[in-house]
């Protein structure tokens, strides 16, 4: 049977197991939307294309599935760029389908034309312009394959309007044949056994774990490796939900706002085992001072991540699940040597525990003013272990990473690499679509929230019971903190002077709005929000000039922290 291009697209999506797409209609995708009308695929209409991408990204992060977006050409397509770049930096699998002007008009500056393959080349894993209906099904197959395999990432398909209406026989390819793309999954056994040997010889080992741990679903293997070798584990922002933070071996986050004990452990360790992490500058601080006493083992599925920023003594290219499984198996065959290792490294763990005791993660509690960290601790206390937490970007994001003790994989969705304000609300929306029964909370700041607040409408329309906690300090808090510390308190353009009535804003959209102005209100407000059906916005009037500490100033080594007094 012959199908039109847009029908082939929808049939192909179903072959890929897609049941939900996020998007926004327009002239260049109107045929797709017409066919969507009769399709079993659910479509979630966001109020901005950027939000559609973040929602698909949130959906992908919490499920591990590929998130799918549809947007129209020109401005619709360019609006997706921040979302795509966000997903790219954090290696999140997406397929973004953008309408394009008809092929004869491409390059003519036609109405709502933008060169999306050109614009998204540096922020997609790959992109396609469909130029021939005969290529369409194969292109979609390849797009999904590329997005979800290897180091995952977003893939864009630019889909001209004339091809959407061209008819062709539909046959979905069984196999992908990309001669230039063959990701390495199996870690080299000899390298892995060398790594095992280095671990057994270490006196002060540390595991440094990144977002790859969740992407590869290697969380259990990581816990096994850490426990059998009794190695302390520090996690990047992307991996805070990758290792249970209540675990005795957990060191919390490292880097610019890392814990004292994580940063000291990395500085003093003699073996750093990097697992699905990429030595980002926010993690390393001054690079020549980073882990300089340590030999480095680096395990990553993406060879370009290895030796990009730091010298590596032992590289292992492969999927973490495969590599860690083999590593655990190999080590398990040497119980005596493991025993020796654990004995030999007990002094090291004692030192680490000393650091934990001398400089725990803490803040100055208050009875008179709501401390933002206190709100985060209370949300943790009152939500379920499997609650999905999203954040925007800034101080609230760092406090969430520092104080929310994540315990389950894929429960913390945050824009790590790109640092996109306005990510959290639409990501929460996408997560709630994926898991209607689970608690989903967007921890937000007053600045970030206003970057995608229009998505309140989407939450209400689809009855998505996302809870939003705005930690309102009427500042762009993180920039203000830098201005306080490094610019002589010259608060240039960081004071959000107009007080917004967030309760009314929520109510205007048909959501519930709650406000907490005193410490005593905090618990009550969170409980009420969690009990209230439908979306609820909570505004917490928090201490205005609270700072995120510890902090490593730019250009310093991560052991040179400004600590909480």
């Amino acid at each position: 049977m012959e199908l039109t291009g847009s029908q082939i697209l929808l049939e192909s999506l179903q072959k890929e197991g897609v049941d939900t797409v996020f998007g926004y209609p327009g002239g260049a995708v109107i045929n797709i939307y017409d066919d969507l009308f009769d399709s079993p695929i659910e479509h979630v209409l966001t109020r901005h294309e950027q939000a559609a991408v973040h929602a698909a990204d949130g959906y992908a992060r919490c499920t591990g599935k590929v998130g799918v977006v549809v947007a129209t050409s020109g401005p619709g397509a360019t609006n997706t760029v921040t979302g795509i770049a966000t997903a790219y930096m954090d290696s999140i699998p997406l397929v973004v389908i953008t309408g394009q002007v008809p092929t004869p008009l491409i390059g003519n500056d036609a109405f709502q034309e933008a060169d999306m393959c050109g614009i998204t080349r540096p922020c997609t894993k790959h992109n396609f312009l469909v130029q021939d209906i005969r290529d369409l099904a194969r292109t979609i197959k390849e797009a999904f394959y590329i997005a979800r395999t290897g180091r995952p990432g977003p893939v864009l398909i630019d889909f001209p309007k004339d091809i959407q209406v061209t008819k062709h026989k539909f046959k979905y390819p069984e196999k992908v044949n990309l001669r230039g793309y063959k990701p390495t999954y199996a870690g080299n056994k000899r390298q892995i056994s060398k790594a095992g040997k280095m671990i057994l010889e270490a006196k002060r080992p540390v595991l440094y774990v990144g977002g790859g741990i969740n992407l590869s679903a290697a969380n259990e293997e990581l816990v096994k490796l850490a426990e059998m070798t009794q190695t302390p584990v520090t996690t990047t922002l992307m991996a805070m939900s990758g290792f249970p933070q209540s675990h005795p071996l957990a060191l919390g986050m490292l880097g610019m706002h890392g814990t004292f004990y994580a940063n000291m452990s990395v500085t003093e360790c003699d073996l750093l085992i990097a697992v699905g992490a990429r030595f980002d500058d926010r993690v390393t601080g001054r690079i020549d001072a980073f882990a300089k006493k340590a030999k480095v083992i680096h395990i990553d599925v993406d060879p370009t991540s290895i030796k990009k920023n730091v010298a590596v003594d032992l590289p292992i290219v492969g999927d973490l699940k495969d590599v860690l499984t083999k590593m655990v198996e190999q080590l398990a065959e040497k119980p005596d040597e493991l025993q020796k290792l654990v004995e030999k490294t007990s002094d090291w763990r004692a030192t680490v525990d000393e650091w934990k005791k001398s400089h725990p993660m803490a803040y100055q509690a208050s009875d008179s003013v709501i401390k933002p960290q206190f709100v985060i601790e209370k949300i943790r206390e009152l939500t379920a272990d499997d609650a999905i937490i999203t954040t925007e970007v800034g101080q609230h994001q760092m406090w969430t990473a520092q104080f929310f003790q994540f315990s389950q994989p894929r429960t913390f969705l945050t824009s790590g690499g790109l640092g996109t304000m306005g990510y959290g609300l639409p990501a929460a929306l996408g997560a709630q679509v994926a898991y209607p029964e689970r608690q989903v909370v967007d921890i937000s700041g007053d600045g970030s929230f206003q970057m995608n607040s229009q998505e309140l409408a989407t939450l209400v329309q689809y009855r998505l019971p996302v809870k939003i906690a705005i930690l309102n300090n009427n500042f762009l808090g993180m920039v203000r903190q830098w201005q306080q510390m490094f610019f002589d308190k010259r608060y240039s353009q960081t004071c959000m002077e107009l007080p917004i009535d967030f309760v009314k804003l929520a109510e205007a959209y048909g959501a519930t709005g709650l406000q907490a102005t005193s410490v005593a209100d905090v618990e009550k407000t969170i409980k009420k929000a969690l009990e209230t059906p439908g979306p609820v916005l909570m505004e917490f009037k928090v201490a205005r000039e609270e700072n995120v500490l510890p902090m490593v100033p730019a250009g310093k080594g991560i052991h040179e922290m400004v600590l909480a007094s």
Binding site: C117, G118, R121, P122, K125, H126, N127, L129, Q131, I146, L178, R179, G180, Y181, D302, P303, T304, K307, K308
Partner: protein, 163 residues
């Protein structure tokens, strides 16, 4: 250090911009780049000359390989290879300098491919250093225009490179 790299790529929409964009986006330098289809029409071969230390070259190699459209990357540094570039040089050639120009062309085994009463257009092929040498000798006569193809390279020996 200078590196000459051959890249086999899918001959498809946008592939040149993927390669050049990779270099500009990551701050790698390109001294020259030449590209044309191979015997297999759906594969193109690029030859590019770049500079960088070992760490940068390792990244260039890996990043090129990471592109979905890239089939194979060969860095010829440390290998035995033949390197050839083509240049066309339009040089002033009037009365007194005409004979001198021809002598130089002869020494370099170059050819004159276009002649006017005032100029010669000279074609030369060879290693880039040889072309540099010819350019130096012709420069005093006044070079009106020059175009160089950038080098292409091939490994020595019986073995061929294929996708």
């Amino acid at each position: 250090m200078k590196h000459t790299i051959s890249v086999l790529v899918e001959n498809e929409f946008g592939v040149l911009s993927r390669i050049s964009g990779l270099f500009s986006g990551r701050g790698f330098n390109i001294e020259s780049l030449s590209v044309a289809p191979t015997l297999e029409p759906n594969i193109s071969r690029m030859t590019l000359v770049t500079r960088g230390d070992d760490r940068i070259l390792e990244q260039i190699n890996k990043q090129l390989n990471k592109l979905i459209s890239t089939i194979k990357v060969i860095d010829f540094t440390g290998e035995e290879y033949v390197e050839r570039e083509l240049a066309l040089i339009k040089v002033n050639a009037e009365a007194d300098s005409r004979a001198e120009a021809l002598r130089i062309v002869d020494i370099f085994r170059a050819n004159v491919v276009d002649v006017t009463p005032k100029s010669y257009t000279i074609q030369i092929t060879g290693a880039p250093a040889k072309i540099d040498g010819l350019v130096e000798l012709l420069r005093p006569m006044g070079i009106k225009e020059i175009v160089r193809s950038g080098p292409v390279v091939m490994g020595r020996g019986a073995k061929g490179v294929s996708a």
